[in-house]
């Protein structure tokens, strides 16, 4: 049997899937291993894909030819655009997804992907020769050779599940954990750390009194993640909103001694953005209630996810808590909430390609890098996959810049400044937030995706089609309109009627006038699709801000393009402050711009560095 591959991906979660799919699509003979094939694309926590900033990530993955958006569309049961009232930069798509269907569709897709072999097996070690990764050994002792190895082990390394006084050495949801590999990674010099995250209880829907809760419907608009999705996604399932109350909080506060988070049983660092309910109650004592969303786990199950109630309190306290919440008084728990601790690495040990600095040909992606979330994992998987391919082909690294994509922000944040808690993507992290929108995602990334080869011609054609529609609209927008013909429009939008004729573009610029209203009154616009009009409207209304950001980006361009030679010995670099030397030595930035973003490295340090480089 042939046990030689171009690439081996360890772990078939959201990161591993994208990495393996990208490699296979790019023609690399790829092996994807998982300890259980029943956990391929398993959504261990919340039953949704997307959301604020995460929706952007999924769209970016789609533009670059990744899988997540396509499969999410197939498994969606409710879809909404969040943030509609907060400005187009932050419009974020979020889908409730049937978890089991997502897993099945994903597995089916991977099974039918050329060049891709799937194997249920526990990898025990990475074969490294002269600091170059060249294969893996399974726990059973089997050897597989490869030119490149990708670690996408998620939260499985030395994982431990904790609920109250009970703890078990186990992966999430009863899946096996990985023991041998985690320990071996330490021995190859990767800096291992311990992080923690958690999940809420699930309840049986038939025992929930929905009448006491607020219904949340999907949006009426036709929405989907992928540009190639040509069907209406399923959008008929409901979510519900309810709240905790003072009684709930009393129970939690009087049982804090039983909370592993507070009695010392948990040593890992948990995320601030995904706090357990005990954390919320302790830290925000003045809040009399916290909201809880009750969301379906799928279309063919009656289990519901209690979003907002992540906890590791003992099982009987979880029951007491539910009994205080309107609508959940009699709810039967199907799966108890738990906290999970796991080993991950310090991402500062990685290059922006996600290759480790110490072992060539070894890449890491997903939660092993200290991130959190399906979307963050998938985004890294995609980038690791593309770069692994570039590595095998001895081609230039593929690194997205902070002004090109949230993916660029995500990876740059991780590898440049590391993270002290599981890292979640937030729009606040993007300094070019107005430029990184969902509506321009294909304009930002399709060409780059085509260059890597992952964005296939079918997808690219779709983009070109959009592009030509926009160009057509730009031409139409030059047309001058006599205001007297559209007095109704001005009345409806509460805008002052201009004296002279006005171009359609200038109409778009007016704050009170939106694309929808315009297309109603100007027949030339009615032939354009809503997303085309929306994109044009945003670009026009935000023109000033966008050109300012473009200018800012231009200003950084030279620094971004300046590659730092990998052999610099920062520690002995004359003229640099000691702190700067140490930080630079640890991060070993790829570009001058990345160096300037390291916290603790000052502009003066950068100037010294520049001079040094020139002197060399």
């Amino acid at each position: 049997m042939n046990k030689e591959y171009d690439a081996i991906v360890i772990g078939a979660g959201h990161a591993g899937i994208e990495a393996a799919y990208a490699l296979a699509k790019l023609g690399k003979n790829t092996l994807l291993t998982s300890m259980s094939l029943d956990s391929i694309g398993f959504m261990a926590c919340n039953p949704n894909v997307g959301g604020s900033a995460k929706g952007h990530l999924v769209k970016e993955i789609d533009a670059l030819g990744g899988l997540m958006g396509e499969i999410a569309d197939l498994a969606t049961i409710q879809i909404r655009m969040l943030n509609l009232s907060n400005g187009p930069a932050v419009h974020s798509l979020r889908a409730q997804v049937d978890k089991n269907l997502y897993h099945r569709k994903m597995k089916e897709r991977l099974e039918n992907t050329e060049n891709l072999t799937i194997l249920q097996s526990e990898v025990a070690n990475i074969i490294i020769d002269a600091n170059i990764a060249c294969g893996v050994i399974t726990a059973m002792g089997d050897k597989y050779k490869a030119n490149v190895v990708i670690l996408a082990t998620g939260v499985y390394l030395n994982a431990k599940i904790i609920t109250g006084e009970y703890s078990k050495l186990s992966g999430p949801n009863g899946f096996y954990r990985s023991e041998i590999l985690g320990n071996n990674l330490k021995s190859i010099g990767l800096p291992i750390r311990r992080f923690k995250t958690g999940t809420p209880p699930r309840v049986m829907g038939s025992t929930v009194d929905f009448a006491k809760m607020t219904v949340q419907n999907g949006d009426n608009d036709r929405l989907s993640f992928s540009i190639i999705t040509d069907f209406d996604v399923r959008n008929d399932m409901l979510c519900y909103l309810t709240y905790t109350n003072e009684d709930t909080h009393k129970i939690i506060l009087s049982n804090l001694d039983k909370a592993p988070l507070y009695n010392g049983a948990i040593e890992g660092t948990g995320p601030r953005y995904c706090p357990s309910i005990e954390d919320k109650v302790v830290r925000f004592k003045d809040k009399s209630r916290h909201q809880l969303f009750i969301e379906p786990e799928g279309a063919e199950t009656n289990e519901m996810y209690v979003q907002g109630l992540s906890t590791s309190l003992p099982y009987y306290i979880q029951e007491e808590i539910l009994a205080t919440i309107p609508g959940l008084e009699n709810a039967k728990i199907t799966r108890y909430g738990y906290a999970i601790e796991y080993d991950c690495i310090d991402p500062q040990a990685l290059l922006p390609t996600l290759e480790t600095k110490t072992v060539k040909g070894l890449f890491c992606c997903g939660q092993i890098n200290g991130s959190s979330g399906y979307e963050e994992a998938a985004a890294q998987g995609l980038i690791a996959g593309i770069n692994a391919c570039q590595y095998v082909d001895k081609k230039e690294p593929f690194v997205l810049k902070r002004d090109e994509a949230y993916i660029g922000v995500l990876i740059d944040d991780l590898v440049t400044n590391g993270t002290n808690e599981p890292y979640r993507m937030m729009t606040s992290r993007a300094e070019y937030r107005l430029s990184l929108r969902q509506d321009n995602v294909y304009f930002r990334l399709s060409d780059l995706g085509k260059k890597t080869g992952l964005t296939d011609s079918f997808r690219y054609e779709k983009y070109l089609q959009k592009k030509s529609e926009i160009e057509a609209l730009e031409k139409v927008a030059i047309t001058k309109i006599n205001p007297s013909c559209i007095t109704e429009l001005f009345k409806e939008c509460n805008e002052n009627l201009p004296k002279n004729s006005i171009s359609i573009k200038d109409l778009f610029k007016r704050p009170g006038i939106n694309a929808q209203a315009l297309s109603k009154y100007i027949p030339e616009l009615s032939k354009f699709a809503p997303d085309v009009l929306h994109h044009y409207e945003v670009e026009t209304k935000y023109e000033g801000y966008l050109s300012r950001q473009t200018r800012d980006v231009k200003a950084m361009e030279k620094m971004e393009n300046y590659l730092l030679p990998p052999e610099i010995d920062y520690l002995s670099l004359h003229g640099l402050r000691i702190e700067a030397r140490q930080k630079l030595e640890k991060v070993r930035p790829r570009t001058l711009a990345q160096a300037s973003r390291i916290s603790g490295v000052t502009p003066a340090d950068i100037n010294v560095l520049i001079v040094f480089l020139k002197r060399k």
Binding site: S92, R429, V611, K614
Partner: protein
């Protein structure tokens, strides 16, 4: 603000030293248009590497004949369009030009910034780069020190308070954008109230900022003292000092009570308190009263005492009445000193001894900074001005602008201020969100 391509300037000759000529360099895309705004006649000639012309420079306060040299990218030190203005030596003119350019949007360069641009544009040769690291370090160290010094006192308090309020505002807006389902702007009115208070504070800073106010209106120095303590001689000695430029202000030059000179770019109006030495039969109290009226509007009072004469009661009374923070006790006639008196500084108007120190003493008393400090301070004021602009945009548009835009302007303001305080803007916002709001599923 664009740190690598916006237009920057620096005085290439030392700001506080005396030389025959002073040179100001400007680099960046806007350098030629900027030059055109202050230098006439401005000529354009594209087919050359550099162009030198004689003309006249016009600033708010003066005109001066000077040379201007235009360098065309990439044939310049930095590789960008550059301009050089060569004028008659003297800090007053240099500062005037820097200030005019600053008002037109030109930014004062950071240490080593010209060199950095030069490097980024592949203009720096190996030899030129030698040793520059040390210079950058030395310069930025003194910058850091100055910046630190500057950040004590009222200015720093206002900036820090504004940072805090802005951070609250940004976090309140950003948390909605990142957690749309869990939050809504609860108290936008409070944000607006806070922004208005920042606006008022900033306007106050910009109006009352020591440098800016003194540069704009000059310093009023009242010379008080008994007859024959040497007030006029002192004034003459200061005027003769080679650092001083006697300015001709119509209507005041022949006013015997007031002489104006300019030192280090700052006009100093010396005002003689005629009342005290009017005549010896005036009773003490009246003399002091008159002096007090004069010093009310004064920034500094020099109380002159004759070191060759025994202390007088009038002097003692006068000193008791004066606010200590603007009083400098000056002993004159140190060349023929006979008595030991408690003074802040001793001079000899006759020999000129101690005059320089006296000027420095006045500047120190007003916390007026010179050279590097001056530049850092100007940069800070520029940043406060930009922050104020963004805050005003929010105040005028918040009812119609969407939160993502409001956040953008707030962050721009915050970024400007963190450039003064040296914090990391993005990290602070995220920390603030998590410490203030209960969010997360």
């Amino acid at each position: 603000m664009n740190k690598n391509t916006d237009t920057i300037m620096a005085c290439a000759t030392p700001l506080n030293a005396i030389g025959a000529i002073g040179i100001i360099r400007i680099s960046g895309g806007e350098s030629h248009p900027l030059l055109a705004k202050i230098f006439k006649p401005y000529k354009e000639q594209k087919d050359c590497h550099a162009l030198m012309q004689l003309g006249e420079i016009t600033t708010k306060n003066f005109k001066d004949k000077c040379f201007a040299v235009k360098f065309y990218a990439p044939n310049s030190y930095t590789g960008e369009d550059m301009a050089e203005i060569q004028f008659h030596g003297g800090v007053a003119i240099a500062r005037g030009v820097l200030r005019s350019l600053s008002l037109l949007g030109c930014r004062i360069a950071e240490p080593g910034e010209f060199t950095k641009r030069s490097f980024l544009n592949n203009k720096l040769t190996l030899n030129e780069a030698e040793g520059i690291a040390d210079i950058i370090n030395a310069q930025s160290e003194s910058h850091a020190m100055q910046a630190y010094r500057m950040l004590s006192g009222e200015f720093s308090k206002i900036v820090h308070d504004a940072c805090k309020l802005l951070l609250d505002a940004i976090a309140s807006v950003d948390v909605i954008l990142d957690y749309p389902e869990e939050t809504s702007i609860e108290d936008f009115d409070k944000i607006i109230v806070n922004l208005k208070s920042i606006e008022a504070q900033f306007i106050k800073i910009l109006d009352s900022s020591a440098n800016r106010r003194y540069i704009e209106y000059g310093i009023n120095v009242v010379i008080a003292g008994m007859p024959n303590t040497g007030k006029s001689s002192l004034l003459n000695a200061i005027i003769k000092d080679e650092r001083a430029i006697v300015t001709e202000i119509p209507g005041t030059t022949r006013d015997i009570l007031k002489e104006s000179i300019e030192i280090d770019g700052v006009r100093i109006n010396f005002i003689d308190t005629a009342g005290i030495h009017d005549s010896s039969d005036v009773i003490e109290q009246i003399g002091i009263d008159r002096a007090l009226v004069a010093i009310k509007s004064a920034d500094i009072v020099l109380v002159l005492t004759d070191l060759s004469e025994s202390p007088s009661n009038l002097e003692k009374h006068l000193l008791k009445e004066l606010p200590i923070e603007k009083t400098i006790k000056v002993g004159n006639k140190s060349d023929i000193k006979r008595f030991n008196k408690k003074t802040d500084i001793n001079v000899s108007a006759k020999t000129g001894c101690g005059i320089d120190e006296l000027i420095i003493c006045i500047f120190k008393k007003l916390q007026l900074t010179t050279d590097v400090g001056y530049i850092t301070r100007e940069r800070h004021l520029e940043l406060v001005t930009s922050a104020l602009q963004s805050i005003r945009i929010v105040l005028t548009t918040y009812t119609i602008a969407s939160p993502d835009i409001i956040a953008e302007e707030l962050k721009e303001a915050y970024r400007c201020l963190t450039e003064i305080t040296g914090e990391n803007a993005t990290e602070s916002v995220i920390d603030k969100i998590f410490s203030t709001f209960c969010v997360g599923k």
